[in-house]
Assembly symmetry: C2
Homo-oligomer: 370 residues x 2
């Protein structure tokens, strides 16, 4: 981690502590993986659902990273600004004991990252007089505006995706499978310095391109097929997110028409973006254009989302969004059209919101033909 | 999916419906990804925390797969035995409407797969008179004993990991990095027919081997280094899980001694396994042996866990386990010793519990020297 310094972690923890005091809590328990890394520098990833790699507990006078013995060595090596606490045994018994020892009676917990079962276990085992308070967005709100150092890291994450895309698509030939292309993209991103992909790389060919979240399989990419590639790199904890669509070799008239329409919606929404506009209005710019052309149902997702340590974070850009864009926010702009049995087109750049507009973090060539 | 047939899904849903009736519920909402796939054949993976690829709702007279438009096409293609319901918009508003329409007043939800925030939103938006009932283990208990067809699939998942391990370690040379070896293992498993790894492949060299869940990085594997490789394949939805430990080229006396001890614990626990023994006693067989040799603290995790559609599932094999092993259960046996700054040794086979003992699903060569 070169992006975040000891000073950053200390400042962030101090800010959480202010919120803890403002909300009349004795502590806040942080289970969200990106929030945990943002506050500590600890990079371990959670396993499956319910298999947490650790939690950060910020109280009025302590900041601890609480882990089980699987993670103690890594926690000690990475989370230098926090006290590492190892719990050997069932955390539903041991965590309440620690809370009692530390005098934490009113404990905030992250509603959007805490399983109901974890809450219920803690609730049943906590000392009389202990209260659990669901909270949301405390650390996420701190992460929404990126510092100059964070933006510099995100530029590199964007460039890694750009360069990997250019390298792999230059070698793309008819007959290669979705999976082969996805694997080549992942390898190229790692060779270019990524920790890994920021989400499972999507390569969708032919009718599969109608599935926005298609998982690459053994479908070959044939000449003339619609193809959607959605990819991003994770670099020093920060994500990039970019989508390109094309036909291989040549595109027929229908593809060309749909592609041009999605590109117009993409460009129009991007040109609309600047500090002060709402996520709802940005969404409407693209949605009205696609709806006007008869594709209301086929644009079946949001215009975009914030990007940072999570590939999907605040602010939101959709029909019911309550976000207002501001300088230093980073958002994806990704209108799309999906037609079952035919395929789809999505075009996505991730951009930094500026006072007068935006700075794109993606520069890879666009279609409609590769 | 060749393992599970339409009849399997119908039978499983009928069983869930029995439990729904027994518990006086009107329906059960299933959010666990493996539970969802087990009941429907729908293979989509969830995104990050809170980004569900869908939920199964089983009521007294319906079985539905509820998805957002990102997944409708895939859901229709895969979940042939279920009614696919698409929710366009915020599920916290739309799901309560659907529950009302379907007459579901007492709704069970999976406490171990449902986020507190999801519960809270649903609770706030549900009709007066609607009740949410946290439940656990309903579908997991159905999955705990594997059918012959499931076991046959798991044998193949085990063999894919075995063969990939043999292929990649045959080509392992000093100076290759953890990451290169992990990537080679993932590629070999896919070439051998895996959907992908069943969890992020662990390759830990040198002092990194002291971290049971180490993520492979740029550390080179040097001659004489302790190395731990923990890997598994996902094949038709079922997981394998295997760990091997070795030194490259030659092992010093200390490594040899620790390796032999872990292998003895591994073998002793495996020989103890059969239908009727408890997970707690199986754990004790290995733990007592390592504790007796002075490594109580260094064996810092459970002896093992169930393996199936999840790589970690029921039954449990640890100090406080309440599981009793039975025929058709599949469990990992993985004692280990970890010493900060030095490295570690873990040896794991996954085995099927039989009436008189076990059948191992792993046959890859063991160390201590590669």
């Amino acid at each position: 981690m070169t992006t975040d310094t000891a000073t950053d972690y200390a400042r962030r923890i101090a800010r959480v502590r202010e919120v803890v005091a403002e909300r009349d809590l004795d502590g806040l328990l942080i289970l969200g993986p990106a929030n945990r890394r943002y506050l500590s520098g600890y990079t371990a990833a959670d396993g499956a659902i319910g298999e947490s790699a650790g939690m950060v507990l910020v109280t009025r006078d302590r900041a601890a990273l609480i882990v089980n013995p699987l993670y103690t060595d890594q926690a000690n090596a990475e989370a230098a600004e926090l006290e590492v606490v190892e719990l050997r045994g069932r955390s539903k018994k041991l965590l309440p004991e620690k809370l009692k020892e530390w005098g934490v009676r009113r404990l905030g917990f992250e509603r959007n990252y805490t399983l109901y079962g974890f809450y219920e276990d803690l609730h049943e085992n906590i000392e009389d007089g202990g209260t659990l308070v669901p909270v949301k967005g405390i650390v996420e709100e701190m992460r929404i505006r990126k510092s100059d150092a964070e933006l510099e890291t995100m530029r590199r994450a964007g460039k890694i995706a750009d360069d990997a895309y250019s390298r792999v698509t230059a070698a793309l030939r008819p007959g290669m499978t979705e999976r082969q292309v996805a694997r080549a993209l992942d390898e190229a991103m790692e060779e270019l310095g990524a920790e890994g992909p920021s989400f499972p790389t999507i390569v969708a060919a032919g009718a599969n391109a109608a599935r926005p979240h298609h998982e690459p399989g053994d479908t070959p990419i044939n000449a003339g097929d619609p193809v959607v590639i959605d990819m991003g790199a994770r670099y020093e904890g920060y994500c990039s997110d970019m989508t390109r669509s094309f036909c291989l070799g040549s595109a027929d008239e229908r593809y060309q028409e749909i592609y041009d329409l999605v590109l117009r919606a993409h460009d129009a929404a991007k040109e609309f973006v600047r500090a002060g506009v709402s996520g709802k209005d940005a969404d409407a710019v693209a949605r009205d254009l696609l709806t006007g052309a008869g594709y209301e149902q086929e644009f079946s997702h949001s215009l975009g989302h914030g990007v940072g340590m999570d590939v999907h974070e605040q602010p939101s850009l959709h029909k019911e969004s309550e976000s207002t864009l501001d300088t230093g926010m980073v958002v994806s702009i990704e209108p799309g059209i999906y037609i079952s049995g035919w395929g789809g087109v999505r075009i996505e750049d991730t951009v930094v919101v500026t006072a007068g507009g935006y700075e794109s973090l993606n520069h890879a060539a666009k279609g409609p033909v590769l």
